[in-house]
Symmetry: none
């Protein structure tokens, strides 16, 4: 299956203060590939992504117990893509990819980082990944040990860049402290959640880090698990995934997000429809373009389960220029969650 004609051209952005370019939209294997989406489907989504110019494929040892890496690696082999045309990532810290015994098979110790990367590369069938992430902080391991271990991974040729996922700003600053002190490579990217409904970390907490450390972001959940597509504008259908109170994933999300904020969010999202209509784009495209309008975002990781979703996501690329300062203000007023700018000087 080839992509429909007339799709916009992919945009590539530098990954923070590095020389690496990633597609502004990328494909992630979170909760899907190797998991409940059928393998053939996964292959199709990856091919669609490649065809529209997506070069960055994101994975983690913790996704689907390692199966996500395995399927992604299989796809790369199956389609014979050239290694140098791809930016492949994985993440180390947790999950049961290495068996049920999690003692020393999780965390950010030197042992698990090195053993974990080796196991991931084997599952991926690759000699190296481009990006390796610390998947969440490990507050029991000294940050210096983690910085050294990721540098070892880079120095042994098993990754090109390292970064973090869902770390706090001061933890990233501390990683740079040790990197600087030891003349080592610091974390170049962070992978936080970012979307219209979750802004504080990216827009406020990390504010100093962009200039201070050259931090680039590869954000996840740009559509907030579909909420921002507007598909729940008229309520959550009983037969949808969100409506299914038996779905383990939904139960987890409910617990994580909180039921009430969920409902309130759906109301807010419905109010964005007139803006999408005015700009003649879908709400999904609006939400994705809004993410990309933030210049600190290097790539927005999407999680497609059908090729059409991939094709659709690319429409956000040209839509960014429709988001004039006036439109962004209108959106801010509807969302009501724009973080206050930090004072720069007190008088």
């Amino acid at each position: 299956m080839a992509p429909p004609e007339g799709l916009p051209k992919m945009e590539y952005r530098f990954l923070g203060r590095s020389g690496l370019q990633v597609s502004a939209i990328s494909l992630g294997g979170w909760l899907t590939y190797g998991g409940h989406v059928e393998n053939e489907n996964t292959f199709a989504c990856m091919k669609a992504a490649y065809d529209v110019g997506i070069n960055f494929f994101d994975c983690a040892e913790g996704y689907a117990g390692g199966e996500s890496e395995r399927i992604m690696g299989e796809a790369i082999k199956k389609y014979g893509w050239k290694r140098n045309d791809l930016v492949v990532s994985t993440k180390i810290n947790w999950g049961k990819a290495n068996g049920e015994n999690v003692v020393n098979n999780c965390g950010l110790s030197r042992k698990h980082i090195i053993e974990g990367v080796n196991a991931s590369l084997e599952r991926l069938g690759l000699e190296y990944v481009d990006l390796i992430y610390a998947h969440r902080p490990d507050r029991n391991t000294p940050i210096e040990e983690t910085v050294r271990a990721f540098n070892h991974v880079i120095n042994t040729g098993k990754a090109f860049y390292w970064g973090t996922s869902e770390w706090n700003a001061d933890e990233i600053a501390t990683a740079w402290r040790y990197a600087d002190k030891l003349g080592l490579i610091g974390p170049v990217m962070e992978q936080p959640e970012y979307n219209m409904l979750a802004r504080a970390k990216v827009e406020k907490e990390f504010e100093h880090l962009y200039e201070e450390t050259g931090l680039g972001l590869t954000i996840f959940s740009p559509l907030k698990i579909g909420i921002l597509t507007g598909k729940y504008n008229d309520g959550i259908p009983k037969d949808s995934r969100l409506g299914s109170s038996n779905d383990a994933f939904v139960q987890g999300m409910n617990k994580r997000v909180g039921d009430d904020s969920w409902k309130k969010n759906i109301e807010v999202v419905a109010k964005l429809k007139p803006i999408a209509d005015k700009l003649e784009i879908s709400q999904a495209t609006l939400a994705m373009a809004w993410v990309l309008s933030n210049k600190n975002i290097s790539s927005a990781i999407t999680g497609a389960s059908r090729p059409e979703q991939v094709y659709d996501s690319v429409k956000a690329i040209p839509a960014v220029k429709k988001l004039t300062p006036e439109i962004l203000n209108e959106i801010d007023e509807i969302l009501g969650n724009k973080p206050a700018a930090m004072t720069r000087r007190f008088m």
Copy 2:
């Protein structure tokens, strides 16, 4: 006037990971000394503080346009206290101590830090302060410049230790990054607000810094401008300062704190009365002892306007041991604002 008999003995604590000892309770010149409290009163409060064993006197160039430093220096001279028995601090960044033209008379540039410290020392009539703080961050000045300038101040003998006031955790971590890289002295203390109603920064945001950098805290507002004394348990009297909607200070606080949270806070505070009664201490003593029960607090800065308030504050020292884990739990349940502990390892 001598202190009443039978006052508890002062406790001294190390200032973070340093060899300096500060009294667990200290006296600050914020909003009062040199300002709207009469000078004779200021002298009396300082003498009362010295008499009960307070050795740490906190000031800032920004307090009362420099008058606060001037009066504090006068008191030290008047009573003939030995310099080595005192820990005197001041803070540099903002205020109109050096005139109306604030260009280069505020901020954390090398120029203002050095010129500001010199002006403060002149107002204080001292050759050096023990502690010098960066009074709020200055996000227009590179942190490296600020770190270097405070080291210059220390190396020229004008201060012994430097720290920050109301900085974010990642800014403190970044200051340590440059200190480490350059072999310079990092910030040893931070001065945040901390009390039963404002816990997130001290108990959550700074969590990693205590061990990572040896950060000590000299906190302000332990009684939340008097709210925690319980004096508003029955509502805010129209003729009190808080009740006066014309008072510029109150208007500022209203704006800062938000009207609603203010009222809600007063309701919560009233619920603490039974605990204070059970422990046979006042609510003010309970609130102060609660602050001191946090081992990361080196000193709680109080802002007395009458000697009796100083004498009273010391009662918190022996009250700390009444705060058993059970009592602390009871308080947490009433306050309902205990920050969730950070995950240490994900599996």
Copy 3:
């Protein structure tokens, strides 16, 4: 053979200030594996250890002329344990593992560390060990050379962490001096003797190192070659190993420990029986739990010659909580060897 039912759950502890977790009780090959204990027995002991949750297996090039490493490696292979579930150590410095000619086949020179590690890995049949120890100091080799060589071993992926065994406190501090100066990895663990009869090094000499360097301890001889089990409470049987004056090992120990202190020790140990009885545990369990009650101990290395001994050792894990401050005081009074605390400030 499966472990008996109802055995307590293993506890895992971080190895000093590192992110690696080791079982609180571990199995060592000192003097036994590859030596006078039969191989089948060794296999059985290792399996018993693995079954009760022991993940740390300790070895040295010097144990049984290299045979200890060989047998340990064979057992790992035989049982098909996953490498990432194990923490395997060895030690470099002395012994005749590499032949009778010890010139350059002992010591802590760069040559012997690198060649020795390679030979150990070959005997173990492993690509890397988790922990590599400097087995005793080598006072003819500059510590800087040793620090650099162990970093080479780590950087070439042949070990994850390095440490020392039976070094003096100032030698460990000096290793950190060079590590710091050169931006290299310092020693994270030390392996001293520690038990109720040998406390000075762990409780006094190393006192500053725990906080200063994050030192963790993997101690050996927790039962003092069986003396602390109480089996000699009624005297040393002529037909026991200790009673045999012909046994080379015993002669060595006699020489090492001194005859008189040996006898005095046995008398002291007998006095501990009432405490063990009161707590309803064996004297062996008491002695092991006492070691584990010291928070600076990451792991106590035991030297089992029968699986039953391994199963028995685990009982110390839950027994630690029986050692209240009062019980620990009682034990201190009987032992009469508690080192005086160091003065912290002279006035």
Copy 4:
């Protein structure tokens, strides 16, 4: 009063790995000058010392509450000695030189080191001392802070070299760790007790430091408060200072040394008389020469209360060469306290 004719010539030794030369015998103000010895006597002893070529005069803020420094400074002024011909030391940490309030007037914090040195210089009437010591460790202050503060003292011209007194070997090694890391000056000398009856620290504990850090020693108590002069060979006279159980100093010493070891020591000392007789020197000269025969000793600090004692001490200089290896062995056998040499390589 001029020194008797025919006194041996003073010997000068380098202070560890520094370019400074100190007289092998020096004069200390411990417990005497400014204290219970009359001032005129002090002046006479200092003059005698100067006349016999002693150039190193040792003091401390803690000796006699600061009076020791005051009298020493007065003597230097009285006799008009040239500053460059003298090596003057003092020590900072404890004592009540700065008043009864010891909070921040003791310890090795930056504050007390800087304030303490200033106060000492004022008492001495000098612009600088040659040597400044950390008088005992302060285990509440980070060693890095202490290293930085002594460097500040040196950089502001108030001392030329800094060292330690009664620190442990690993504490000295740790001071060098921070000095090295920060490019600062490390401690060049240590002042321990050293004499025939107290050898372990100098001969064993510090063994690696001499070569590793270039440590020089200025030892105190070479005659063990007179015991080694042999004056108690026939028992302690009731009317002597040691015999007086009312003397506060003696009571303190009794408590410190322990009554029994004291008596045993006196018996051992008596056995040295035949050796002294054979060498035709006094036992005092033997004991002092024995100290000086250790090449790691830069200077032995004596504490004279009469000029004759000073003149007498110099006889030890030429006596050193009488201490052949055979004689030293004889002495070792009598003393029975020679520390075992450390193993240099295990095979």
